[in-house]
């Protein structure tokens, strides 16, 4: 089975990156052979919808499980629509979390773990948000 882990580096020994849509790398691991592919996150600095784009990538790569730190509401919806199982709150290296998953030590989440961003840093207060030029 193909598992996707968000990571801050491009190897099995890289630490898990907690930010789903903004992680530097997606590591796709074959749970049987531990063969892996590291895909850099092109949407890391996207203005908005990084989580949705990430979900799109993971779905297109045929992963069935996502292991990460936090998932926002939009990405959560998209992952669920794609039938991807979502595991949040993971920490350690990519290799460690995949092993843990195989031993059944990780639990799936049933809801988003962080609030929405609306792509432009809402929640950081009005002053901050207003400095972002909307691309409209």
């Amino acid at each position: 089975m193909r598992i996707c882990v968000t990571a801050s580096g491009n190897s099995l020994d890289a630490p898990v990156e907690p930010r789903f849509g903004r992680c530097p790398y997606f590591i796709f691991v074959d749970s049987e052979t531990m063969a892996f592919e590291a895909v850099p996150n092109m949407a890391m600095n996207a203005m908005g919808g990084a989580g949705i784009q990430a979900a799109q990538l993971i779905a297109s790569k045929g992963a069935k499980v996502l292991i990460t730190g936090n998932v926002g509401p939009n990405a959560f919806q998209a992952l669920v629509a794609a039938g991807i199982r979502i595991i949040t709150g993971a920490y350690g290296t990519v290799r460690e979390v995949v092993e843990k998953f195989k031993r059944g030590e990780l639990r799936e989440t049933g809801s988003p773990t962080v609030g929405g961003h609306y792509g432009r840093g809402a929640g950081m207060g009005r002053g901050w948000r207003r400095r972002y030029p909307p691309p409209y």
Binding site: G48, I52, A55, S60, N74, A82, G83, Y118, R131, P134
Partner: protein, 278 residues
């Protein structure tokens, strides 16, 4: 004549100035373009006569036609579309209504529907006509709502636009097309910093402008020095006075209670007319 009232940062008294100005002239329309946090109505207690929704077009997918090819999602620069193997999701709050996905869809499965992003409120307080827009919570696009507010401008009226604070797109959307822009600032280092940025923007879009110094007496002289150097007229100083502050804290426009100020705002309008060449 259209006068925009703007400021580089929030809390400088921009709305107070806009409201007092509007109260000092006749045949006036006050348009509150600060659609994220409109507050001119809080000072005016207007009677709201009617409301109107503001929509933007967003895509909707006919799943009977869609074959989940993913072209729309690939195309969308704002990541507003997710295509799964047998499901497609649209995120209207990310969509910028460019219409591209509908054009690109090979199956012609995408059409447009209206998505509500805000409300226009039409009110009146005495002879003053107040219109303000309010963006829905969580909707990021202020500009279409500001456009909807500005569509209500009547050419035969004296129009005062209360701009959002800052210098981002919503501010430019508000200010563009005005005959004159009044910048409200404070004589403090923060006020000066934000004033400088706003001045640059206004010079760029080529709108004549002048400055009102609010809470004059606090801070230092640097704002004045800057205006002198740049030859920016200081139109008015509103002193940091107890009476004014008290009326402000009660939510009462101070020119209503202090006739002398009503005269000052009237004269200000005349000055602005001259500067604007009207």
């Amino acid at each position: 004549m259209i006068i925009a009232v703007a400021s580089g940062k929030g809390g400088t008294g921009k709305t107070t100035v806009a409201v007092n100005l509007a109260l000092s002239i006749s045949n006036v329309q006050l348009l509150d373009c600060d659609v994220e946090e409109p507050n001119a109505h809080l000072l005016l207690n207007p009677k709201i006569n009617r409301k109107e929704p503001v929509y933007i077009p967003v895509p909707t997918v006919n799943e009977k036609l869609c074959n989940y090819c993913g072209k729309c999602s690939e195309f969308c620069e704002y990541n507003a579309i997710f295509v799964g193997s047998n499901k497609i999701l649209i995120f209207p709050e990310l969509c910028h209504s460019c219409g591209g996905c509908a054009l690109i869809c090979p199956k012609k499965a995408i059409s447009e529907k209206q998505h509500k992003i805000g409300t226009l409120n039409f009110g009146s307080a005495g002879n003053l006509e107040l219109i303000y827009g309010k963006l829905e919570v969580g909707e990021p696009l202020a500009v279409p709502v500001i456009k909807a507010v500005k569509k209500q401008i009547k050419n035969d009226k004296n129009v005062i636009l209360d701009s959002p604070p800052g210098t981002s797109c919503p501010v430019i959307e508000t200010v563009k097309g005005s005959d004159y822009c009044i910048l409200v600032t404070e004589p403090t280092p923060f006020g000066l910093h934000d004033l400088k940025i706003t001045v640059e923007v206004l010079e760029d879009i080529n709108i004549p402008f002048g400055v009102i110094v609010n809470r004059a007496g606090i801070g230092d002289r640097k704002v004045y020095d800057f205006c002198k150097e740049k030859e920016i007229p200081v139109l008015l100083e509103i002193p940091y006075e107890r009476v004014i502050a008290e009326l402000y804290s009660q939510g009462v426009p101070f020119s209503l209670k202090i006739p002398e100020w009503k005269e000052k705002f009237k004269m200000l309008i005349e000055t602005v007319k001259e500067y604007a060449g009207k």
